[in-house]
């Protein structure tokens, strides 16, 4: 691993990595079980530098912003490196967002360059919102079919400068990325992440989960997500390791990839982990009684012997077939993006497959705590990573209070949002809005949120305000959306739901017609953003002088109602 203390920027560190391991494979790309390409560190450099030169020739300068909207693939990482090489700031956006949402964030970020894939560009280019985003001047599109209409864009594959580009150094405090943690409908929350934030986070994470040449990381979470950016790009690259990309992310191809590439690490969201658990459990249940008894006996031995720490060689020997299905080289499954049920974590650990669960948020530079597995504690999210100061604010009688974090990995603030930044980072401490406590052994346990948001099992952060647009023009006097747990605090991070609060016009009744209209609008939302119930409120919403809803007061009033009796199904 490179000594990151010597470096000032992501670009500088990756540049050295490309020189350190020229012959090692850094990227594998497979589609539907067939390997399409493998790229060495030398080849990665040979593909990235002409793009960097092309960007420089087209006027892209230090501090300029370039966005990437792509699925997980080699060109994502090559483009990101080219941007960093030029001293640019990367704006990674979620390819799963709708075109109008992507244009909203492109506008907010001030990106002058957009690098995307043809199918995504096809949707973006015909969106009416494009005209409102004049800041995006250059669009590069990958994998353009022959004779396809480019609508003002240029083909990525031909964006090659002839000479050598000039490497542009950046300082640790300079902006590396603007990462949107939310804000597609309400206030865009663009986390300004510095090069220093990433360098510090990488040192902390690799101290517990190291990479080395020969490691193969399976990249499934979108690379725009803070976790995959760190463990599916920067982390492996500065250690000479390799990343495996699958162009078709279906459960059957993911399952095949483990033995085929002998995967070392993978990051998953809880939903995928639970799906794996379901599949494995079904196979165990099908075992004939005799084999099942032997399996349970071996699992019991494994459980006893790995109580204080994982012993992978032993587990692989005892539960050979289970480990063979995962390729036999799996060191750990990193699970993040949302809260994971302890029983799911325990299921895998009992099979000798360590699950590195943790707790983090984009604003803190990805991970804050990680389970170090010594011993494995399924009921906690682990201990703070090196360099992280974590404290519990205003703890109640049970020791539960708001989790706050201070570290060199914490962002300096939200882009163009000084007020929001001042509310979120107080005296250098990041107010996470999550409730937790430390147990006697220093492990963090989480107990719900203070924030008006939910996190789904797919790892999607959904802020209630972002969903409100969908109900604009509803024939009611007032409406707003809340996370149910924000109104009725719960000490659980599971099964979080959104509810729509409506205040009817005077004299009007809640009719079936209105319910149907709400249901129709709801179904047009992407599945994880949908509301799960309606709350009828009979008073005027508390408003500020500028007629904004005072959400805290309204939530307080609503909290006096009985949750179960109040929520009407959509």
């Amino acid at each position: 691993m490179l000594d990151l203390a010597k470096y000032s920027s992501i670009g500088e560190a990756v540049r050295d990595a490309l020189e350190t391991w020229p012959g090692e494979v850094c990227l594998y790309e497979s589609d539907r079980g067939e390997e399409k390409q493998r790229i060495t560190y030398r080849e990665f450099k040979e593909r990235a530098l002409p793009l960097a030169k092309w960007l420089q020739d087209s006027g892209f300068r230090a501090g300029d912003r370039a966005s990437i909207i792509m699925t997980n693939q080699s060109k994502w990482l090559i483009s990101a490196y080219a941007i960093f090489y030029c001293g640019g700031t990367l704006v990674p956006l979620d390819y799963k967002l709708k075109p109008q949402e992507q244009w909203t964030l492109l506008k907010h970020s001030g990106a002058s360059v957009l690098i995307t894939e043809y199918p995504i560009w096809r949707q973006l280019s015909i969106s009416a919102c494009r005209a409102q985003v004049p800041n995006v001047k250059t669009v590069l599109v990958t994998e353009v079919p022959a004779n396809a209409e480019l609508a003002g864009a240029q083909a990525w594959e031909f964006a090659k400068g002839a000479d050598k580009p000039t490497f542009v150094p950046r300082k640790r405090e300079d902006l590396a990325c603007i990462v949107y943690s939310s804000g597609t409908g309400g206030t865009p929350k663009g986390c300004m992440m510095t090069h220093g934030n990433y360098l510090e986070q990488c040192v902390a994470l690799t101290s517990i989960y190291p990479f080395w040449p020969g490691v193969k990381y399976l990249s499934i979470l979108p690379t725009n997500h803070a976790i995959d950016f760190m463990v599916g790009f920067f982390g492996p690259f500065i250690c000479g390791a390799a990343v495996v990309h699958l162009r078709t992310l279906r459960p059957e191809f993911v399952r095949e990839a483990f033995p085929k590439y002998q995967i070392t690490y993978v990051s998953l969201v809880p939903l995928v982990l639970k799906n794996l658990q379901k599949g494995l459990q079904a196979r165990f249940d099908e075992l004939p009684p005799g084999k099942r008894r032997i399996f349970e006996w071996l699992k019991g031995i494994n459980k006893t012997l790995t109580k204080s720490r994982p012993i992978l060689p032993l587990s692989r020997l005892l539960l050979k077939q289970v480990h063979a299905a995962f390729g036999g080289k799996l060191e750990a499954i990193i699970v993040g993006g949302a809260f994971t049920e302890p029983q799911t974590l325990q299921f895998f650990y009992d099979l000798g497959i360590p699950v590195a669960n943790g707790y983090g948020l984009t604003e803190a530079g990805t991970a804050v705590t990680v389970n170090d597995l010594r011993p494995f504690r399924a009921d906690t999210v682990g201990k703070p990573l090196p360099g992280m100061e974590v404290r519990i604010l205003n703890p109640d009688a049970d020791g539960i209070g708001q989790v706050s974090v201070r570290s060199k990995t914490v962002m300096p603030g939200y882009l163009n949002e000084p007020e929001l930044t001042a509310q979120t980072i107080v005296d250098g401490w990041l107010m996470t809005g999550d409730m937790g406590r430390f147990d006697t052994t220093g492990h963090l346990q989480l107990f719900g949120r203070k924030k008006n948001m939910i996190v789904t099992e797919e790892g999607k952060n959904v802020y209630a305000e972002d969903v409100e647009q969908a109900f604009e023009g509803l024939p009611v006097k007032e409406y707003c959306v809340f996370a149910a747990n924000y109104i009725w605090p719960s000490r659980s991070m599971l099964g979080e739901q959104l509810v729509l609060i409506i205040h009817l016009e005077p004299g009007k009744q809640f009719t079936e017609e209105l319910r149907q209209e709400i249901a129709a609008r709801n179904s047009r939302l992407i599945n994880y953003k949908r509301i799960h119930g309606i709350v009828l409120y009979n008073d005027d919403f508390p408003l500020t002088a500028s007629l904004k809803i005072i959400r805290v007061s309204l939530a307080e009033q609503l909290g006096k109602l009985n949750r179960k009796e109040t929520i009407v199904p959509v």
Binding site: P251, N275, E457, N527
Partner: protein, 80 residues
């Protein structure tokens, strides 16, 4: 060549069988996440079944954001 109606009908039948829904209970306009109570991974499993049935390849991006059978049928029809 199949008509869009035929394609839709075959998708509905396949989904009914795969997710063990009551025969005739699924309609073209239905939101399959809601109607079948499935998550995004289960929806991906259905796509693989549909690819086998129609002998086509449906790239992930083609079905991004699709949640009703009718739109799904249109995307498949375009590739037949």
């Amino acid at each position: 060549m199949r008509s869009l109606e035929q394609t839709t009908q075959e998708i509905l039948e396949l989904a009914t069988k795969h997710f063990k829904a009551a025969p005739g209970s699924l309609k073209a306009q239905d939101d399959f996440y809601k109607k079948l109570g499935i998550d995004s991974l289960q929806a991906l499993e259905l796509l693989s079944r549909l690819e086998d049935h129609f002998h086509i390849e449906l790239p992930d991006y083609e079905v991004q954001g699709v949640s009703d059978f009718k739109t799904l049928a249109e995307r498949i029809q375009a590739r037949l």
